[in-house]
Amino acid sequence: MRNKEIREINAGSMADIAFLLLIFFLVTTTLNAEWAIERQMSSNEEGDRMPIPEEYLFEVKLNMHDELLVEGTVITLAELGSLTTQFYTNSEANPNMPDKELITAKLCEQRMEEFKNNPNQLKTWQQCKLAVGYFGPFHRLPTYAAITLSTNENTSYEAYIAVQDEIQHAVIALRNTWCIKYFGKLFTELDPTDASDQQKIIAIRQVYPQLISELPTPEIIAQY
């Protein structure tokens, strides 16, 4: 006898399958968390480059055996951190390390006037003025100071990244100390999405700027 009731197909499990597909898809599109070391290279044409006095240059060289040569001495990666800190702060008043400039509000305004047609320099000095607003007059390396990283053709990429990382580590440590002194928390704890924290980040970056200069080729391929 024909059953007059037509049985409905239970479509509930189809929903489960669809949910599984959806969740799988949502998960796979977020799997590539891109961690990277960001750098800004200097362009080929930056007007006439004046030769930088030697003590304002922190020369880090890597040879083909991934050995580190800094300011004429072979050192280990661990020592690089403390030498970088020395370069930035010169706390031991070493004559081979650079003298620092005293940044005051007046100096910033002067420079802003001088460089009003040069957008990069103008921005730098505007940010310096902001920093003076937060910290009062402070000492820092002049804007032409630089950390130069030279590598040999056969230096391994791993060593290069390790050096970049170590230098950045030293800079972040300096910024952390400064931030704790003035704002009571670590530089790494500042939130880049918050407007007032953003200003603080900009100001502290002016006190201890990232000075790694990504060199153009002729200075890189040196045989040593």
Binding site: I9, G12, A15, E34, A36, T151
Partner: protein
């Protein structure tokens, strides 16, 4: 008297779930259309180095990837680390200028307002040598692509 068949005591009629998968599929298609999942088949082996001081790259659609590593098919390409852009392994050192064209094309395909945010990301094997990377950076400088990033594993 006609026998009444046993009537099952029915409660409230069950809610039909037949349309639920339709809703979910609509959501699924929405996500498939809006998210960008770049699938470049990697033809080189890359074991990224580790680093601690890293940042997360925003705006994935504005990242131009440059891959360097040992080719998977060493029979055709040899055992030395090679550059791969898009899906192609660059055939020789002389063709490295293709990097410049790639960046220019990439830039042209983006909106004017986004172009200054384009980052050239180096996905390089830890054992690769700096000679290749230095030449690539030089090519990037030639086309004014100054924002770069070294892709690493967060330690």
């Amino acid at each position: 008297m006609a026998r009444f068949g046993k009537k099952k005591k029915k409660g409230a009629p069950a809610v039909s779930t037949a349309s639920l998968p339709d809703i979910v599929f609509m959501l699924l298609f929405f996500f498939m259309v809006t998210t960008v999942m770049r699938e470049v088949t990697l033809k080189v082996e890359i074991d990224k180095p580790d680093a601690t001081e890293t940042t997360k790259l925003e705006k994935k659609s504005l990242i131009a990837y440059l891959y360097v590593g040992r080719p998977m098919e060493t029979g055709i390409y040899g055992p030395e680390p090679r550059i791969q852009i898009d899906d192609q392994i660059l055939p020789s050192e002389a063709s490295e200028i293709e990097i410049e064209n790639y960046i220019l094309d990439f830039r042209a395909s983006k909106k004017e307002s986004d172009r200054k945010d384009i980052v050239a990301s180096f996905k390089v094997d830890a054992d690769a040598k700096m000679g290749i990377v230095a030449r690539m950076k030089e090519h990037l400088r030639n086309v004014d692509q100054l924002r770069i990033a070294y892709s690493v594993n967060q330690k």
